[in-house]
């Protein structure tokens, strides 16, 4: 299937649905090691994104236009750290996806730019129990799948599966970035809420592309 503007819009709508469905889970994860507002914040942000999409007279021309709308809306409505982090990820991704549709390399470019945005803003590296622990393996898996000649939808499927595994792998980690780092050793044994929500967002992208997870 073609990863065009319709795909991007479907991704964003599925992401919003997933965030709302998992709101309580994200709140509970964040309550354990953060300030407990991650589920609420993302719900508010993505609800606003969907309202903006609904208000459009006609769909944008380029994939990047959709991602830019997501970026600016999340940054203005989320309130917590995930706003500028995801906002920057979508903004950087928007800059490299000014195209009507994405092929395998386009998907890789989108994910790489998103990861770079999160790293630039959050200054986290893999292993610090953050969103980066979902995004970094997702990018690595996407690069490998694209090199092996997979179609765009499967590049995204590989990325989403790797993000899920990466999120689960945050459970034993001790946080050294973000609010959870104040807990030190006590942060171990909990799934990182940012890694979990990143897992949900990338799964939504893959499902919108028709990939199997």
């Amino acid at each position: 299937m073609t990863l065009d503007v319709a795909w991007a819009i479907d991704w964003v709508r599925r992401a919003a649905t997933a965030v709302v469905e998992h709101r309580e889970e994200l709140v509970e994860l964040d309550r354990q090691i953060g300030d407990g507002d991650h589920g609420e914040n993302l719900t508010r942000g993505f609800t606003a994104v969907v309202a903006k999409l609904d208000a459009l007279a006609e769909p944008p021309a380029l994939v990047g236009d959709v991602l830019r709308l997501v970026a600016t809306t999340l940054m203005s409505t989320v309130g917590g750290a995930s706003g500028p982090l995801y906002g920057t990820a979508f903004l950087r991704a928007a800059k490299v996806t000014g195209l009507p549709a994405l092929g395998p390399d386009g998907v890789v470019a989108l994910l790489e730019a998103g990861l770079e945005g999160i790293v630039a803003r959050g200054k986290a590296v893999p292993g610090e129990k953050t969103m980066v622990d979902a995004w970094a393996p997702a990018v690595a898996a996407a690069v490998q799948a694209a090199e092996e000649g997979a179609p765009a939808s499967e590049v995204l499927g590989s990325a989403a599966r790797a993000a899920h595994a990466g999120a689960l792998a945050t459970i034993p980690l001790v946080a050294t970035k973000g609010r959870a780092s104040y807990l030190g050793e006590r942060s171990a044994g909990h799934l990182d809420p940012g890694a979990r929500s990143s897992d949900l967002l990338l799964a939504a992208a893959a499902l919108a592309a028709g990939a199997q997870l």
């Binding site: 940054m75 203005s76 409505t77 309130g79 906002g87 920057t88 803003r121």
Partner: protein, 240 residues
């Protein structure tokens, strides 16, 4: 009454609307000539708002002013950086984000800006604010009592002494009055051994009514500086 507005303005970004406004009030009280714009909270409560920070920055930078931003926790810093990444380059070039304690940094920065400090000076003042507390329990960072080479030696120092009369002692407002006026003078002044141009060091002395204030000044305006301090202390900073 029209006031001259300092060339460097402050933006205070906090998770809490009340915290940003409160810190802005404290800073403004000590440096009335400085534009201090609070940007705290979101429409719904706690958190930081991209739109509010963007608006505050534009207001602070209006008319060509430079801006030092102080931010409290996590998302306040991240949101500020995201705003700067998306801002007009010409505006972003006039803005610096201080790595500084929120309230102390805002106070120190405001006093320096009020005294005519430039962007680098105001930023440095905010960032040095943390150091005042770094050695907590051991008093303020040592201040070199000897003049640097090329300046008048110890014999050239002008000294003065006065006893605090106002009920609250050397609290925030009088400390700010002394610090900003001394900063503008061509003199190096210590008060009870600390830098007289540092509002935070003066406040940390914790001088109360009846305590002695010992002034030592060096430089061209040393005599004026001592007279200023002694005069203000004896007048009770207008509070008696």
């Amino acid at each position: 009454m029209t006031r001259e507005v300092a060339a460097v303005a402050l933006v205070l970004v906090s998770h809490s609307r009340e915290l940003a406004q409160g810190a802005a009030h404290v800073a403004e009280q000590m440096a009335p000539g400085v534009l201090v714009v609070p940007a705290g909270g979101t429409e719904d409560g706690l958190g930081t708002s991209f739109a509010r920070v963007e608006e505050a920055l534009e207001r602070a930078a209006d008319g060509g002013r430079s801006v030092v931003v102080l931010a409290d926790l996590g998302s306040a810093v991240l949101t500020t950086e995201a705003v700067l990444e998306m801002a007009d380059e010409e505006l972003a070039a006039r803005v610096r984000v201080a790595d500084a304690p929120f309230v102390e940094g805002a106070v120190a920065a405001a006093v320096t800006a009020h005294g005519g400090g430039d962007l680098a000076g105001v930023l440095a003042s905010a960032q040095q604010a943390g150091a005042v507390f770094a050695g907590s329990g051991q008093g303020p960072a040592p201040v070199d009592p000897e003049p640097a080479a090329g300046e008048p030696d110890v014999d050239g120092a002008v000294r003065g002494r006065a006893v605090l009369r106002n009920p609250l002692g050397l609290h925030a407002r009088p400390a700010a009055v002394l610090a900003r006026r001394l900063a503008a003078m061509d003199a190096r002044v210590t008060i009870n051994g600390v830098n007289g141009a540092s509002v935070l060091e003066l406040m940390k002395l914790g001088l109360v009514t009846g305590d002695a204030v010992e002034v030592v000044a060096r430089g061209a305006a040393a005599g004026d500086a001592v007279a200023l301090v002694v005069g203000e202390v004896e007048a009770g900073f207008g509070e008696v």
